[in-house]
């Protein structure tokens, strides 16, 4: 499986783009958590650094493995993830509350994060066998919808509407990519909207509807979420064109945004680096996504292409929702900024995806 030629094909661009984001992440987490007189920040920076090292190891391991291996084993992986989702719900019930993770001792693993990658792999495998120039029909969509709904419902039960919704968005992007027949597309949109309306109108009670809104709002205080947005907008806006300078942000005082080093890390960045820095930051992300699509485009296996697109879509949606949220375009949902927000699970998940992307990239010249 491992070939010397592989290393000659090592994708330096992908690697360097990722490392660049890592450095931005560490610098901003330090800035967001440090405060005069309180030694507090370094702890987060060190922890995040450890996650990154772990992430890079996973990145290399998954990169070295031939992606056909994933194609062969993805269904097994997919069902294992679903099983662990069931386990998490069951365990959570026993503990008398909601629980989202399995404790591995050194870290808490959230199977709902792994579900994103598992879903991408099974959908890629399915569509690699069911592709039509005119677009797929309803019959080819039955299995993909089923594959999406199983983890979707299990994650909804946790309850974590944010992650569950992301699964649907990721699957949706992949399905649109492989092209859906016009009739099928319209009937899907029609059926989807009718089902959603019926679901909300008839199957949800008033308090459940409210609860859904509070699922969307991780801030416990209904006003707290809106408050974060205002503060986040002030932080971003006050950066103006050139920014206030590194560690010179005034809005990121610990008391203002309790999550500023996790979900709201971008507002810290934008305050310090201004419009100029923020646009460059967006460009960096854009480069990663475009490079991901390029990797997919140069692959010669359908599974590889669709997997590449799926992995790009994971990063894209999280990025788009997170940035939209901190800029006040979307309501507040718990969504980390890929590779930059503080948090082990997110880093490990995204790095696994990047590892698979690397695996596809390194084998771009191989015939099937």
């Amino acid at each position: 499986m491992i070939d010397k030629k592989l290393f000659a094909n090592f994708d330096w661009v992908l690697f360097i783009l990722i490392i660049a984001l890592f450095f931005i992440s560490l610098a901003e987490i330090y800035s967001a958590t440090h405060k005069e007189g309180i030694i507090y920040g370094s702890d987060f920076v060190v922890k995040q650094g450890i996650w990154f090292l772990g992430g890079i190891i996973i990145f290399f391991i998954l990169g070295v493995i031939d992606y056909h291996f994933y194609e062969r084993w993805c269904l097994f992986f997919y069902w294992a993830v679903n099983l662990s989702l069931v386990y998490v719900i069951f365990e959570g019930r026993l503990a008398g509350g909601s629980q989202r993770w399995i404790s591995l001792g050194f870290m808490n693993l959230q199977p709902s994060e792994l579900a994103k990658i598992a879903l991408v792999l099974v959908l890629a495998r399915h569509f690699s066998k069911n592709l039509f120039i005119k677009g797929v029909g309803l019959r080819q969509l039955i299995m993909p919808i089923f594959y999406t709904m199983v983890p979707f419902i299990l994650i909804l039960k946790q309850p974590d509407l944010g992650t569950a919704g992301t699964l649907v968005l990721i699957a949706g992007l992949i399905i649109l990519f492989v092209k859906v027949g016009k009739k099928t597309l319209w009937s899907l949109i029609g059926a989807g909207s009718i089902l959603t309306i019926v679901f909300i109108m008839f199957f949800l009670k008033e308090y459940q509807r409210k609860r859904i809104i509070s699922f969307l709002n991780p801030g416990q205080d209904p006003l707290g979420a809106g408050y974060h947005i205002i503060q986040s907008k002030i932080a971003i806006g006050s950066g103006m064109f050139y920014g206030k300078g590194y560690c010179e942000g005034t809005q990121n005082a610990l008391s203002f945004l309790p999550e500023q080093h996790t979900d709201f890390i971008f507002s810290v960045f934008a305050e310090e680096w201004g419009f100029l820095g923020s646009i460059l930051f967006l460009c960096l992300y854009f480069c990663i996504l475009v490079w991901g699509l390029k990797i997919a485009g140069s692959c010669r296996s359908r599974f590889g292409i669709i997997t590449g697109v799926g992995l790009v879509s994971i990063v894209f949606w999280q990025l788009f929702i997170n940035l939209g949220m901190v800029m006040g375009i979307f309501p507040v949902v718990g969504m980390p900024l890929p590779l930059v927000s503080y948090g082990g699970t997110s880093v490990i998940t995204i790095m696994s995806g990047m590892g698979i992307l690397m695996s596809i990239s390194m084998r771009r010249f191989m015939a099937r």
Binding site: Q220, P222, L223, G274, S301
Partner: protein, 607 residues
């Protein structure tokens, strides 16, 4: 090469799809860039200004708690505005200087200074309450001196106001500061330490309805913490209003009638299960829990031997005494161990095992049937019946009438009482049941323990001819927008399964208790309304001990019971009255029951 199958996509096709995807992703990034431009370049200057002082503050706006009405829609629990002095640590400047000035207006403890200094570092933007419910002249002083009191402001918040303190305190309950366990269990609600939540009674049980939803505002302040403008505001939603089944006038009257005595009066509609009054004395002033009480006041409350904080109607466990006799009567008839006419002889005492068991009337009742036994409350008749029944059968019937288990009323801390049987004794003491114990139990003494509410439910079962009703206190819940959330007219009913003819015989007996000359309750015969009832005298110490004291020690006097329903023809109210150490049911408890019934049925007070 891949994609060789006919009709399947070629690499070129994929390239086209990827390009479309690229366009969409670019569009998304364009939107993000545009938004950044809007925030940072076009509106950057405004945001920069807002950020200079960290000048946006969040204010939580407390909702008005739901109101509570009595069954006639009379307002009994309201809210009033209260003024609280708060400080935002960030805006306070020097805490010591500020507190020096504030000290001249209000009392400030050492802890407050420490708390504020800590908060200045860790939570500088969260307002801290330093004085609660202050007088209007304090408000005036703080408002006029505002310039010298940076970061200090007055917040007007609704405060609970019990309009009839001490009338239905046990039912309504009171508020207290939320503890951390409670806060943890209500994660999605922006409650904080120090917020008032229901701590007992209806206030506690219906907390989620009454509380309402917090609102809030984001305001821009200047460097001294003065509000310059409101950026956005979410108004609070008041809590739901609750209508009780309680009749406040009746409740007030019951408390009045109990007077200095410790005791309980429970009245309910025997058909619907509505609790019309639930009084427990001594009462306490529930407003004290809201305004805060002195150590002495608190000590008085918890050290009072008459236990004012206890709701005796549901928490007090007492032996039922002769009131219990309706149950062996029903059991004997239903099991066909006795007939209505079958007579037993009472000589004033009964020999069982190795000793005599006395009737309360030492001269004896002669030859009597079941009705007469009830009317004159003959003990010997029931001793004989008890032996025939056996304790386990008796317990079975007692449970049918709801004894030994909680009635399921809405408020907390209800006691189940005890229905003893041979199994219970074996479990509790590891000893087998003695026949003599049955004789105590059958006349409502011994291990038997009941609550006044259970007695009211039992009485209702006779009044409504055989249904066990679940008593309830909350009739209606209406949201602040006028939407009816709950509307209960009648509660769950369970048929007891005893022949109606047998119940009729017992009810005739109860009727004669009050309305015949030989009845133990004849003294309360009403010429306006026909009342049926039963007296009870529950010994608390052995009769020898009691006799020795010659009634001088109040705590050795028996508890007085009276249960009643009226009008006999078509009962509208069932009442259970208990007076602790009230000596005789007929003397202390019965007149209260009579007055309650007359007041409810005729709407007048008769002395």
């Amino acid at each position: 090469m891949a994609f060789r199958i006919d009709g399947n996509p070629e690499p070129e096709w994929f390239r086209g799809r990827l390009n479309i995807l690229l366009i969409w992703i670019s569009a998304a990034f364009f939107i993000l860039g545009l938004r950044l431009f809007w925030l940072q370049v076009i509106n950057g200057e405004n945001y920069r200004k807002l950020s200079i002082n960290n000048s946006v503050r969040i204010q939580r706006i407390a909702p008005a708690r739901g109101l509570i009405f009595d069954r006639n829609e009379k307002l009994i629990v309201d809210n009033r505005p209260s003024f609280n002095v708060k400080i935002v640590p960030k805006d306070a400047g020097s805490i010591d200087e500020l507190l020096d000035r504030l000290c001249q207006i209000i009392e400030i403890s050492e802890d407050t200074a420490k708390e504020l200094k800590n908060a200045q570092i860790y939570t500088p933007f969260k307002a801290i309450t330093i004085a609660d419910d202050v007088d209007r002249d304090v408000v005036a002083k703080i408002e006029t001196n505002q310039f010298f009191l940076p970061g200090t402001f007055i917040s007007v918040e609704p405060k609970r106001d019990y309009l009839f303190p001490g009338i239905a305190s046990h039912v309504i309950g009171y508020l207290g500061e939320a503890d951390t366990d409670f806060l943890r269990s209500k994660k999605n609600i922006p409650l904080r330490v120090g917020d008032y939540v229901g701590k007992s009674g209806i206030e506690k049980k219906f907390e989620d309805y009454l509380r309402g939803e917090y609102g809030g505002a984001q305001v821009e302040v200047n460097a001294r913490g003065k509000i310059m403008q409101v950026i956005s505001e979410i108004p609070p939603t008041p809590g739901d209003n609750i209508t009780l089944t309680i009749d406040l006038e009746l409740q007030k009257y019951a408390v009045e009638l109990l007077g200095e005595e410790a005791g309980a009066v429970v009245a309910m509609d025997p058909n619907s299960g509505e609790v019309l009054c639930m009084a427990s004395t001594p009462v306490f002033n529930e407003n004290l829990f809201v305004t805060g009480m002195t150590d002495l006041q608190w000590k008085e409350l918890i050290e009072n031997p008459l236990r004012p904080l206890e709701n005796k109607a549901i928490q007090g466990k007492y032996p039922p005494g002769s009131v219990f006799k309706m149950i062996p009567a029903a059991a004997g008839l239903e099991e066909e161990l006795i007939t209505a006419d079958e007579k037993y002889f009472c000589s004033g005492r009964y020999f069982y095992g190795d000793r005599f068991f006395r009737c309360w009337n030492k001269y004896g009742h002669g030859n009597i049937n079941i009705k007469e036994a009830l009317i004159e409350s003959c003990d010997v008749y029931f001793y004989k019946l008890g032996i025939k029944l056996g304790v386990d059968k008796l317990a079975e019937y007692a449970r049918l009438f709801g004894l030994g288990s909680k009635t399921g009323i809405e408020i907390d801390n209800e006691e189940a009482g005890i229905v003893p049987d041979s199994k219970w004794k074996m479990q509790k003491f590891g000893k087998s049941w003695q026949g003599g114990e049955t004789l105590s139990v059958v006349i409502g003494q011994g291990y038997n323990l009941v609550t006044p509410l259970q007695m009211a439910v039992m009485t209702s079962a006779f009044a409504n001819k055989g249904s066990l009703v679940k008593p309830f206190l909350v009739k209606k819940i209406v949201s602040s927008k006028g939407k009816t959330i709950r509307d209960v007219r009648e509660s769950k009913k369970k048929d007891i399964g005893i022949n109606k003819d047998y119940l009729k015989i017992i009810n005739e007996g109860l009727d004669m208790v009050v309305n015949s000359h030989s009845g133990t309750g004849f003294s309360i015969k009403s010429d306006k309304i026909r009342i049926a009832g039963k007296t009870g005298t529950a010994q608390v110490v052995s009769s020898e001990k009691y006799k020795m004291s010659k009634g001088k020690r109040k705590k050795w006097l028996p508890h007085a019971w009276f249960i009643a329903f009226a009008p006999v023809e078509d009962p509208k109210i069932a009442v259970a009255v208990l007076v602790e150490h009230g000596e005789h049911g007929s003397g202390t408890a019965a007149p209260i029951a009579k007055k309650i019934i007359e007041k409810y049925c005729l709407g007048e007070i008769n002395d």
